[in-house]
């Protein structure tokens, strides 16, 4: 028998969360031995593995004499994926992740090289894009690549019936949604009296939405997403603390 929502709680979603609750986060680093950096990021059932190879040499026509080039390969859980001609959605996701990485990566340190990011979806139960972005950031940290900032990502959906904003939707909520958006915000370290914290800035790195909405709904979604990203950034800090101390 499924556990219903607890007494007196505001939980209104199928799995007992309230609208602004993110699922359980698990982050594991260094799981692939051959890769320079790797991470597995799970948001409850959705699980994505990211691996970073580089900076390494690249084919002549791709190289940039002043900075490193970022290449992204995104492999979905099932279906045929061809390296030369990935499908439409994979192409779009690759472009989004590449733009996000280029936004935080100090490319001018490694001219004429390439950093390759490979992402494999292990299990897809909603919010795959934000999960992949979080996994990429964790893998970049594991690889020891120099970054300006880190970033944290979260997805948000507008429910068709109630019009409520749900953070971190799962697969059934995404299907019933009027619109689903994935957002990533830059997060940088800040030194406070009690030690350093990871704080999300106002700068939006990625905003990718399917569906239509009013401007007011978009702005509210953005603000909620920023708060959600702040919580994910805090979780990232905790998990980094465990590794480095």
């Amino acid at each position: 028998m499924e556990a219903g929502p607890g007494p007196g709680s505001a939980a209104s979603r199928a799995d007992g969360r309230n609208n602004l609750q993110i699922r359980t986060l698990i982050c594991e680093r260094g799981l692939l031995h051959r890769a320079d950096g790797s991470a597995r990021w799970c948001q409850d059932k959705t699980c994505v593995v990211a691996a970073i190879y580089g900076p390494k040499t690249t084919l002549g026509r791709n190289e940039d004499p002043e900075q490193a080039v970022v290449e992204v390969v995104f492999k979905p859980k099932s279906g045929v994926y061809r390296y030369n001609a990935p499908g439409q959605t994979e192409n779009l996701i690759q472009k989004i992740i590449r733009n996000a990485v280029q936004g935080v990566f100090v490319a001018s340190l490694h001219p004429r090289t390439a950093v390759q990011v490979v992402i494999q979806v292990v299990r897809d139960e909603g919010s795959v894009l934000s999960c992949a972005l979080n996994a990429t950031c964790a893998a970049l940290v594991d690889a020891g690549v120099l970054l300006h900032n880190m970033f944290a990502a979260v997805s948000c959906a507008i429910d068709k019936q109630t019009g409520a904003l749900l953070l971190d939707p799962d697969a059934s909520e995404e299907k019933d949604a009027l619109a689903v958006g994935s957002f990533a915000f830059c997060a940088s370290g800040e030194l406070t009296d009690s030690g350093s914290r990871l704080v999300t800035s106002e700068a939006i790195l990625v905003s990718s939405i399917h569906g239509s909405m009013d401007i007011q709904q978009y702005l509210t979604m953005l603000e909620l997403a920023r708060q959600g990203c702040q919580r994910i950034a805090e979780f990232t800090r905790l998990s980094l603390d465990k590794v480095f101390s």
């Binding site: 030369n84 001609a85 990935p86 439409q88 959605t89 192409n91 779009l92 690759q94 472009k95 989004i96 733009n99 996000a100 280029q102 936004g103 935080v104 619109a179 958006g181 915000f185 830059c186 800035s201 106002e202 700068a203 939006i204 790195l205 990625v206 905003s207 990718s208 939405i209 399917h210 569906g211 239509s212 909405m213 009013d214 401007i215 978009y218 702005l219 953005l222």
Partner: protein, 291 residues
């Protein structure tokens, strides 16, 4: 004589400066509030829409925004509808980057930019419910129209998404569906053969999604950047909006070198609203001129 030589060497120096130090070259213009092609930072390039340019297509549109050119064409075909959606027709969108457009694209390979534009256009048309697929039904369960929409990017001079989406929308708005019936044996009979005076049905577009690309350079917002400007921007925001001011597929922020602030996004949305009015007026003018 000497003056002529002097101006020639000056322009050579200016070109060399632009090639070697593109950022500084551009900053010199921006500081005075103007861009290298003479536009102020908030103005879009001149837009023209040409309809029915390809005679073999059932509907076509050629859009030029500055030098960026996109050509869209639709071919109709009668096909049996899908099993689980017997009342709906189909729309197949294909966006192709040609080698004419930019030197970095080689023929035969599908360009990443073209596929991401394709994905965004099909997502925009679906989310804005611009096209009701049930309008394409001829005989429920037996026959429906399939629209093959092809968009060719002929010149990549910045703002490709805007030109491609405008071309797609113009092409669909100009589309006329001929009257056909499907006989018992499955043969398609065109009603216009027997009665040439019968008017075609115009395809109804329920909304006009139109897009505008903006970029941030040195904390100034540039509207409709050219391809040289795009390379220098710290972040690019593409906003698709429809006539009622609803955001279709939201502003798509591509990180670039930094993120975009909330104030920048609000400005972009304002710009998109104004641009929508201009462009939809232009489109309606062209559609009426063609009738």
């Amino acid at each position: 004589m000497a003056a002529g030589e002097a101006t020639q060497s000056e322009s050579l120096q200016a070109d060399a400066f632009k090639k070697l130090y593109p950022r500084e070259f551009f900053t010199k213009f921006i500081e005075s509030g103007i861009r290298p092609d003479g536009r102020p930072v908030g103005r879009c390039r001149a837009t023209t829409i040409g309809l029915n340019v390809v005679s073999t297509a059932d509907s076509s549109a050629l859009v030029k925004i500055g030098s960026t050119t996109a050509l869209a064409g639709v071919k109709l075909e009668v096909m049996p509808p899908k099993q689980d959606l017997p009342n709906q027709g189909q729309l197949a969108i294909q966006v192709e980057m040609t080698s004419l457009a930019s030197s970095s694209h080689r023929p035969g390979r599908s360009s990443e930019e073209a596929t991401s534009i394709q994905e965004r256009i099909s997502s925009a048309l679906k989310s804005s419910s611009a096209l009701n697929l049930e309008d394409l039904c001829i005989d429920p369960g037996r026959a429906a129209w399939c629209l093959y929409l092809d968009i060719y990017l002929l010149d990549a001079a910045g703002g490709l998404m805007d030109a491609a989406l405008l071309a797609a929308v113009a092409c669909l708005a100009n589309m006329q569906l001929p009257h056909v019936t499907v006989s018992e044996q499955g043969a398609v009979v065109s009603a216009t053969d027997s009665d040439p005076q019968l008017p075609h049905d115009k395809l109804q577009l329920h909304s006009l999604p139109l897009s505008v690309t903006c970029g941030v350079f040195d904390s100034k917002l540039l509207v409709d950047p050219t391809s040289e400007e795009e390379a220098l921007l710290s972040s690019t925001i593409n906003t698709i909006i429809d006539a009622e001011g609803k955001l279709i597929c939201g502003p798509s922020v591509s990180g670039g070198r930094q993120g975009a602030d909330l104030s920048v996004i609000c400005q972009c949305i304002e710009v998109a609203r104004i641009r929508h009015k201009e462009v939809s007026q232009l489109l309606t003018q062209q559609l009426e001129a063609v009738q």
